[in-house]
């Protein structure tokens, strides 16, 4: 059996998280700053360390946006290659993580454009239909936990890219609104609007399941 490691251990803060009041986190960020500075001077080893630290997060975001594991890995690789070439343009060594996510999101969007959105649209349509039918479903045929998770994943995957990107960054990756705004090139208020729309869309497609979860909670 292959050894599997979670891309993000549950409960672990994200690389872009708040370091205040957390000395260990603060020193980690300081170490990262040093690595970035070394990488800027052409140190491949330092850059390799950065790749190791950020690879899982970048790939996870790419996966949520592009959907396919293979494409996500391609995008993640390309993200780091572009990052290496563009290190000189990084305004602050302390912002390496979010800057990387910005490149990743940009590449994901390129990928989405080139691959077309029709499959995504069709997936969303099918999901809608399934949701409508589920509204009338026999209550005894309730989803198992695994099905529920699959359903949530699918609902996220079916969000329009415009909403999915900020949703993934904010709700799943824990980036601040301001950071999401920088990454997506939008205003924070716009990001908040997108989040509201994304949640509304999720509530719509997950209606019955949310009700069940409310009852359970």
């Amino acid at each position: 059996m292959r050894e599997l490691i979670p891309l993000r251990p549950k409960g672990q803060s994200t690389p872009g998280g708040d370091a205040e009041g957390d000395p260990a986190r603060g020193s980690a960020l300081e170490a990262e700053r040093r690595r970035v500075q070394r990488a800027r001077r052409g140190d491949r080893d330092a850059f390799a360390e950065l790749v190791r630290v950020h690879r899982s997060r970048v790939q996870r975001v790419a996966l949520r946006i592009v959907g396919s594991p293979e494409d996500a890995e391609d995008v993640a690789q390309e993200t780091f290659v572009r990052a290496w070439r563009g290190l000189g343009r990084l305004d602050s060594a302390g912002r390496f993580g979010p800057w990387l996510l910005g490149i990743c999101v940009h590449l994901c969007r390129d990928h989405q454009r080139s691959s077309g959105r029709r499959a995504e649209d069709a997936a969303a349509q099918l999901l809608d239909l399934a949701a409508e039918r589920a509204d009338d479903a026999d209550p005894s045929a309730r989803a198992t936990e695994a099905e529920l998770r699959a359903r949530v994943e699918l609902a996220i995957a079916a969000l329009p890219t415009k909403l999915r990107v900020p949703f993934v960054l904010r709700a799943l990756e824990g980036e601040t609104y301001e950071e999401v705004a920088r990454i997506t090139g939008a205003r924070p208020a716009t990001v908040r609007t997108w989040m509201v729309q994304a949640r509304r869309a999720l509530r719509r497609s997950l209606g019955t399941w949310i009700e069940e979860e409310v009852d359970r909670g």
Binding site: S56, G116, A123, V152
Partner: protein
Amino acid sequence: MRPLLRDVMDGAASFDRTEALDAHAAGCARCTAALREARALRRMLDALADPTVTRADDDAFVDAVLGRLDGADAIGERRRGIGPVRLLRGALAVGAAAALAAVLWPTADGEGNSETTGVARVEDASAAADPVGDAAAPIAEPVAEFGAESVAESGSEPVPEPVPGPAPDADAALEGETGALAVEFDLPQEDVDPELFALALEESARQLDFEPHTAPDAREYAARVQSTLGTSPRRAARAWLASHAPSPRLDALSARVLGPGADFRDRRLLERSLERTGAAGRWAVAAQGSTGVQSLWRAAADDPASRSVLVALVRERGSEAVDLAPRGVATALVADVARAAASEPAERLLARFLETGDGAWRSAWRASKEAPGALVDALPKNARRASDDELQRLALALCDAPRAEGLDVALEGLLRGDAAGTAAAEALAALGGTGGAEALIGATRSGRLAAATEDAAWRAMLLAAPDALVRATAEDDAFDLGVDAVLRQTDGRRALWDGALAFLVATAEHGLADDGARVRALLAIAQLGAVRPAPELRARIERLQDEASSGVAAAAWLARLALGAPEREAPPAVRATVARGGPVSVVHLRLERALRRARGPGSE
């Protein structure tokens, strides 16, 4: 309370703020419901499993990135169509499979004890167990474990496995084996016939300490058993296997002799002897029809050799052998064998996934070269008749292969079927609800549908689900597009009018539609004219006369007149609208004309 609710939703609310919200919600039913819903959704998001990667992938990933930095990126660019990750994955898969084989491949030692050994040991043991040579060569690469994660998950192309071939028939086996004996015992070929060898088998079974390899004078011994014993090869083989005497060569031969036409007793004997008889024994079991194949499936869960033979069997017999897998055998194993055999058509694998929802079939389908094509083929027919579960699975499959060649065409097929008109109607009605309506709006907006197809599809949707069409137009902010399209579809069919009216009224009522779109919808109703709407629709139009927007109120009045409303006098809002004048618009002109008609001649 909204910002607080949002924080709860984000998982970012502080304890104090959460307490404040709870305190407020205790006295506010609306906030209580919203809070519960927000927390439920948050819990669902928190429960999502994080995608995983293999730790070994991490190093490979870093190497790949650095390799590209070193200049390989130029090559990577030229090969962009293939994709650097896939190339790397392909190489890694081969290496990983070989490494796995070295580490995990279980086999049996001379005493029948299982142990984990390297590839070389496997080859030695198998060669000893099965003398037929290349036809019975063991699998050198266990391509995947039987867990949820298989190599198929890696997305690499399936690696064809070298597997043992089918057992030669008993006569050929005997002939080959006796030839080998002749060489080994330095006997003239003509002196060693199958019958003689069978006799030797039985004799050796009787004398448990018999060891042909050390017989001092094999020629003499063979002559002796031939003269003293008379028996059939089958009896000899049976006797040998029952003897428990160790001789891989004779074990394998005996299994082959017993395989075809084995009776109940022979089958049990063969199944009990699997540890000794190698690939030949497994083929012998498989040769016993469906019961034998089912036995092999059951054995394969713990026995890689059985799995190898199953792979070859599936290659030879296709889906028939897969379908024989009995209940209780893990789907992951069945899918893995099917994938390794690479003989199951991709569409069959996809169909199995759509039918069962088992991720193992999805993985097997994804690993197939023809996966995208199979999806393209599956789309139109499955969307029409799929259950809600199947639709979810189809959506998952779509997420897997968004760039499938021809997918555009297939998705187009979802909208219009193979021919314009009725096929489009069927496809849309099958997609149903908002899904079909949104697809239709998207296709209309793209301008890629033929006019006849587009009209047929809109008619179909108006008949099938006008309410869903309203929801979809609201969702896509496509009211104008919808009103225009609906107006084109009035071909005199009453049912169609009903659908069109329902759509237009709902559009006029919709809170998200701007006043311009609402007025256009009502004017479209007026344009439809002589339709007798259902009383409920009539009442809804009447209510629109009381709208704050005088334009909407006026258009509603016009619509009611066109639909034959009894009262002719314009309500005050309409009169005020006309009196205000303003820009000369179609609405004003129509209103003025209608007012004149309502008041009779000379009312100017």
